[in-house]
Structures are given as C-alpha cells and as structure tokens.
Amino acid sequence: MRRKKTIVTLTTALAPAERALNVLGTDLTEKGLRRYLNGIAGVDAVGLEQRAAALGTRSIKTTSKRWALDTIISLIDLTTLEGADTRGKVRSLAAKAITPDASDPDCGPVAAICVYGDMVPDAVAALGAHHGAPDRGKIAVAAVATAFPSGRASLPVKLSDTSDAVAAGADEIDMVIDRGAFLAGNYGRVFDEIVAVKETCRREDGTSAHLKVILETGELNTYDNVRRASWLAILAGGDFIKTSTGKVSPAATLPVTLLMLEVVRDWYKLTGQKIGVKPAGGIRSSKDAIKYLVTVAETAGEEWLQPHLFRFGASSLLNDVLMQRQKMTTGHYSGPDYVTID
C-alpha cells in the first residue's frame, strides 16, 4: 500500500528521501528540486573532453598492467541481456564468472553477473556457494529492472519488476530512469520513481539490495543533463550511478564517466558518503578499461577501485583482458580460440 501513496504524492511534494532532506532541507518540493538542480554549474565540455583524453594517454608498464588486468576482472559485471537468453546461457555465464580462465585457476572471479529479472533464480542456482558479496571474493547477482531498457511502463509495473528480482535473490538492482520525464524537465517524477524503487529494494530481513541507477547518458544529449541526472539519482538514494543500458549508442564514454566520477567526488566532499560508478556498454578492450581505471584513481581516488564502488558493465571485455593476461603469462600472443565463447 505504501507504494500507492507514493504515486498520490507525486504532483504535490516529493517522496521523503533522507539524502535530499539533508541537502535541500525539509521543504522537499518539485520546485525546490528543480531550483537546486538548475543551480548546478554547467559543464566545461571542451575542458572535460581534454581532461579525459589526457587521462587516456598514460603509459602503463608491465607490473602495473598486470595489476590493472586483475583489478579489471574483479570489477566486471559479466553481462548477458538478450531477448534470446536461456537458462543454459546464464549457467555458462555463471561458470565463466567463477572461473574466467580455465587455463589459470588464480584468475578471477568477476564481481557480479548481470541478467534480466526472470533469470535471477537460474543465476543464483548456478553460482551456488560462490554467490555472495564481491568485496569478499564472491559473486553477486545483479538484475536489470523497471522495464529495462526503455523504462516505458507504469510505476506499479516497474516496482513489481523490481520486487520480483529482489525476492528471487538479486543482490543488486539496475534500474533505468524515465528519460522522457527527465528531458521534459519533470525531475520530481524521476526522483519519486527512484525513491520508490529504492524502497522496493528492501528485503524482509531489513537488508536492502544495492540500487544502481542507469542514466542512459546517450539519450540525455548534454553533459549538463548528465551532471544534473547524476545529482538527482544520488539525492534520491542511488547506491551507484551507471552510464548506460548498453542498448543505446553512444554508451559509456570516458568523458561522461569522468563527469559522473566528479559528481561522486563532490558528493563525497559534501556528505562523506561514497557512491559507486558503473560505466556500461562499449568498453571492449583492456586498453580502454585501463583508461577508466586511471580516470577513477585520478578523480575519485584509488579507494574507489573496489567492487562496491566501481564496476564495468561488459561482456566481451573479459575475453580481451584474459587474452592480454595470457600474453603476460606465456610471453606470446593469445587468440580467441583460447578463451570461452560468450
């Protein structure tokens, strides 16, 4: 019943989110939220892109590279989000998450596997004893929810999508924001949806599934919008802000991720809370992924390079990292025949 009350209050006042109350004060209205978000300084696009390009030119030498490759593996959300997904596909994904490189038992595991909500029971079953918190070397199950990837559904549908996944054992929920509402300036609606989904992430035992808020930056058009959406998602209670669904081009880019990391850094300075960032989609090579590691370390800080604060949403990236890793181990170049097929 609590859910319905949230819808009723949409037009007048915003759902009370602890963070927003602390930052915006008790007068939590749509007008107040809009004033706050529109008051955030604009983004220097040229400066941002130049900074991102500069961070991408760092030369990473052998020992650091080895560390970087292992770190990347521990930060990957191994993903399969296709209409053609089957239980068998999810099982093989789980097997790969546990043992990424069959020729090297020291390799892995990844941080999480990311699947559609209805595949969560299969993912949990396939992981078995390996299912758990990635910070403790286990593998989490992340589920996309709220009418992923478009987000075009009514709130009750989105909430039941979420509660299904949580009930099935998902540790993390990747929700999409209503980009239409955001672009129309209807920030309050986006805010309330995030608050409602966050509430739905709560489990009966009092714990809560981690909430990743997908901004779908490829549809937000400007860096200013990305910055505003990032603040909005954090204010509403997101534990992670994620760039993209992977279904829209452009997906994750280095400048956009840098921008989101800057918001996370500013939020940390403001409140002392650490928010996670997850670039997803379009990161296919180890070389690209290493650029992201450099950007994280230089922007938010090295303590962000752990599974509960930074993730890569990727599928083909893992194979490239494994091939690079094999090259460093054996001394000769590896090939796609020596890693598993996704």
Binding site: Q326, G331, H332, Y333, S334, G335, P336, D337, Y338
Partner: protein, 290 residues
C-alpha cells in the same frame, strides 16, 4: 625552375590502411648500386599483433565469399598490376640492379602467376575434394576449407627475383582458398611489396585480407610463429633465420608449417601450395532421406 622533390613515405599495410610503424622506426633502403632509395617503416611486434587482429577479422568475409567471387577479386588485382607495370619495372631495376628487360619479364611472370592462382579459386575444391566410399547408406564428402590466418615470410634474396615474383608466389596460393595473410616482405627489396599494397588498396580485396609488414623478419617472425591466433606459417623466405626454432614455436599451437625454399624453383606454382593451407571437412549425408 627546379621542382621541390615530393618524396614518398613508405608505410605498412594493415587492415586496408597505411599506418606508420607503431614504434615510429624506419630503416634505410639502398639500391643494388648502394645509393639511398628510401626510409622504409620497420614494423614492431605490436604491428604484427595488429596485423593478425586485422587478418582474423577479415577471415569470415573472405572465406565466406564464393570461390567464383574470390577468383574475380584476385583476377582484378592482376588487371591493376598490368596498369602499373612501368612503376614495378622501375622499382625492380633500382632494387635488384637488373636490366629493364629482365625486370619486365619478372613483372609479366608475376602477373601470369597471379592469374593462374586466381583461376584455381573456384576449382581447387573440385580437385582436392572427394566423395569417399563408405560401408553404409551414406554419401561421404570431403572438402578442403581455409585454415584461417596464415603468416608468411616472403622470399628475402634479390635473386632469384624476390621483389615481385617471389612475393606474389608467396601470398597468392594462401589467398585462393579464403585464408587471410600477414606477410613479412623482403627486408632488402620491399618496394614491390609496398607498391603492391597500393594496388590492393584500390582493388576489391577487403581490408585485412592481405596485411604487409616491412622490416626485419628475424625480429617479427618469432612473434608470428608463437602467436596463438595464427593458424599456419609459411617459412618460404626464412632460410637465413633460425627457422627450426620458429617451427618449434609454431608447434606449440599446432600450426601448419611450410619449410623454407631456395633456388630457381622456389615456390613454383603448384596446387599443393593451395591445399596445404586448408583443413578437410567431411560431411556424412544419409541416402535414406532422398
């Protein structure tokens, strides 16, 4: 008034593009008379790696084309070679110190050989394939299929006619069946290979099917021999290298390896050179369903 000289930059040919060496290195190329000809890109192991990536990406398209189509595309290269005849003759003269007549003969032979191999593209399967007698109600058919990425060390010595003819004899047979190639050109006489890359870029061959590296075979060959994503190794021009070690490296990943050849009959046209870079696919088909 004298014109300022417009000098050409001799680059690599990888994935249908002309990059400089990733390392930025070049080496001095001198002609048969010892005079300076050009600075040629000296490919590094990373260039070789990039070339293998490009070649791998091109395998699906090239091997998926019909034999007839591949034959047409290869024949088109011969047409373009014919149009650039004068340039090739000139370069062979400068590199090998031979007469224009001898150089012209080499170009003609190379073009003819290219046409000869092109013709096999839609025929070699019929010759090398087989219907096998089996004791059961089945058709049993074996057909050769391309093995994938072939790394080639092109003939290195100016004699006999390494420049163009040796290069063509090395790459053409691997291409016929639908393999893609990464080839290390002759270190001392690479001009013909570089000019051929310009012909290829304007022909119908998809980018990545033929990748040409210039530089030191001794430096690049070990990386290609041990590369797990290379399916076969043609050591045709590797006679001066430590080629037994290359064979051993190649064996680690079960590559097909052709040994070096020397002398006037080296890499003479043969269907064996085509079928060597193929794998045999055997299909059983029941007679009962017909």
């Amino acid at each position: 008034m004298t014109r300022l000289a417009v000098l050409k930059t001799y680059k690599l040919y990888i994935g249908g593009k002309f990059p400089r060496s990733e390392s930025g290195r070049v080496y001095e190329l001198t002609g048969a008379d010892g005079s300076f000809i050009a600075n040629v890109a000296r490919a590094s192991r990373k260039d070789a790696r990039d070339a293998v990536v490009a070649a791998r990406a091109a395998v699906t398209g090239w091997s998926g084309a019909t034999g007839y189509n591949r034959g047409q595309v290869l024949y088109r290269i011969a047409e373009l070679l014919e149009g650039r005849r004068a340039q090739f003759v000139d370069e062979i003269c400068r590199q090998e110190g031979v007469t224009a007549k001898q150089a012209g003969e080499q170009v003609d032979t190379a073009i003819d050989r290219w046409v000869w191999y092109a013709g096999w593209a839609d025929k070699y399967v019929q010759v090398a394939g087989n219907g096998n007698p089996v004791s059961g109600p089945y058709f049993n058919l074996s057909t050769p299929e391309p093995t994938g990425v072939v790394a080639i060390i092109a003939p290195q010595h100016p004699t006999p006619s390494a420049s163009l003819l040796g290069f063509v004899s090395a790459i053409a047979p691997a291409l016929v069946s639908g393999n893609t190639v990464v080839v290390v050109a002759s270190e001392k006489t690479p001009l013909s290979a570089i000019s051929l890359s310009e012909v290829l870029a304007t022909s119908d061959v998809p980018g990545g099917v033929i990748n040409i590296l210039t530089g030191s075979p001794a430096e690049i060959a070990p990386w290609l021999a041990s590369h797990a994503d290379v399916n076969a190794l043609d050591l045709l021009g590797a006679g001066d290298l430590d080629w037994v070690d290359l064979q051993i490296d190649a064996a680690e990943t079960l590559k097909r390896v052709l040994p070096p050849e020397a002398g006037p009959d080296a890499a003479s046209p043969s269907i064996d050179r085509i079928t060597f870079f193929t794998e045999t696919k055997t299909v059983w088909h029941t007679k009962g369903m017909i």
